[in-house]
Symmetry: C2
Subunit: 274 residues, 2 copies
């Protein structure tokens, strides 16, 4: 159980409203057309990423002047105080750029570095996931619960999702990817926020996603705790001085079955279902 105080309810309300503003910007720009450019690391960023991150930062800075803000596309702002917001304006930029409807916006709130509130919005699927420690989690207002039910599916019937092989390879886990894809489970590559969201609502038995940046992982870390799901994590120092995060989460029974294949490389973290 966590020693964090309950997240104030108006933080949740503001996070939900902020996601709504991000969705409106994304939908408007997607309809009107947008451009993309290469970043120094070779990946692309679009005008949508820029516009959403600026709008979200402005809104959060006005609502919570004392909070820090970090995001994928702009430098950190505000101090290293009690609360820090983490923004990924568009998770799945490659999908957005190509027209796959599987991208979204991620928002999380850290309390002394621990993720306690998470938001995933999938604008083209019209699905908004909001959750916080001490409150619970919802999809479009309906409660989400991943705690085991009386009638779990047999493991062979569950769908397990993984990120792409390059991410596994970057985490030294290429052989695990190959073993999973060749094995007896139904494994699909649904990375980015779409896979995370589907695991949070139990459509997937579990999601195994490697080599994430903090802004890719923070929303899901809080959300899965708030659903009563099970979460295994590994944090690694990367050559660029940053942190990389490897995650396995989903239905407790499925996560436990997969944990046996990980030989302790990812560890359980405490969770506090509502």
């Amino acid at each position: 159980m966590s020693a964090s105080p309950a997240v104030p309810v108006h933080f949740l309300e503001e996070a939900r409203a902020t996601a709504g503003e991000a969705r409106a910007i994304t939908r408007r720009m997607r309809a009107a057309g947008f451009s993309a450019r290469r970043k120094p690391d070779g990946t692309f960023v679009t005008d949508v990423d820029d516009a959403v991150e600026r709008a979200v930062r402005d809104r959060l800075a006005r609502a919570f002047p004392g909070h820090g803000i970090i995001g994928e596309e702009l430098p950190p702002q505000g101090g290293a105080g009690e609360w820090t917001w983490v923004i990924d304006p568009i998770d799945g930029t490659r999908s957005l750029r190509h027209g796959l409807p599987l991208y979204g916006t991620l928002l999380a709130l850290l309390h002394h570095g621990r993720s306690v509130l998470g938001v995933i919005d999938l604008p083209e699927l019209d699905r908004l996931y909001v959750g916080a420690e001490g409150h619970g989690a919802w999809r479009n207002g309906e409660p989400l619960c991943l705690a085991d039910t009386d009638h779990p599916e047999p493991l062979a019937e569950e769908i397990v999702a993984v990120g792409d092989r390059a991410s596994f390879a970057a985490a030294g886990e290429g052989p695990l990817f190959d073993e999973l894809l060749r094995g007896d489970l139904t494994v699909r590559t649904y990375g980015d926020c779409f896979g995370h969201a589907m695991a949070l609502e139990g459509a997937l038995g579990a999601l195994l996603d490697f080599d994430l940046r903090p802004w890719d992982a923070a929303a899901s870390e809080a959300l899965v705790r708030a659903t009563g799901g099970r979460l295994l994590v590994r944090r690694r120092a990367a050559a660029d001085g940053g942190v990389r995060i490897d995650l396995l989460f989903g239905k407790p029974g499925v996560v436990s079955a997969l944990e046996a294949r990980l030989d302790g490389r990812l560890r359980a973290v405490g969770f506090a279902p509502a």
Copy 2:
């Protein structure tokens, strides 16, 4: 170029209206709840598959009394005449059953065995794809065109989708799957009608899907021809006496680049863009 006559326009209109009826049934049953049972082959079928196939058959039999009808869940009806409708009431039953919004309804019309009209409906994504030889293809009424543009993406930027590894293995192509997943392309496992639809609208560079039944493949075969895309096909006799179909289709440039890795195992078929 094909020697088929143009598909009568009222066939297209009836196909579109039939997909609309299928969508209404699917959405209603998805909201109300449905049950699933195992088929003799070990896979599941749901009440939604049954209800949609019955409604589609009834409607087509009334509209086209002289046409044959084959579908996934019920025996063939009508004679082996000039025109035959092919129905997959729910393609992606596993996704539907688990709550992944990536399933849909497939409808095709064969003229002397050749697929000349295709419909893919994705109820939860609100995307309807309709196309026919001599007419063209549309997504929600907007024209689709996969013919090469002046500014194709570099191959490394395209997303290539594949079916699951078990399907590749059933076609003797497990090593190809492994090679693609470990290679330099961005490869994701988006099988079923979601992957087909995303390739048809150019969000994917190409789709490589193996070991399909005729009702899984027929709609896409007609649709990709109607978009001006490129299609490679292999038809195989299966141990159960049926036919299995292996497909590669999408943007002509991407399909040609992948063709080189297939050593002639799949062959181009003629197409007649509108």
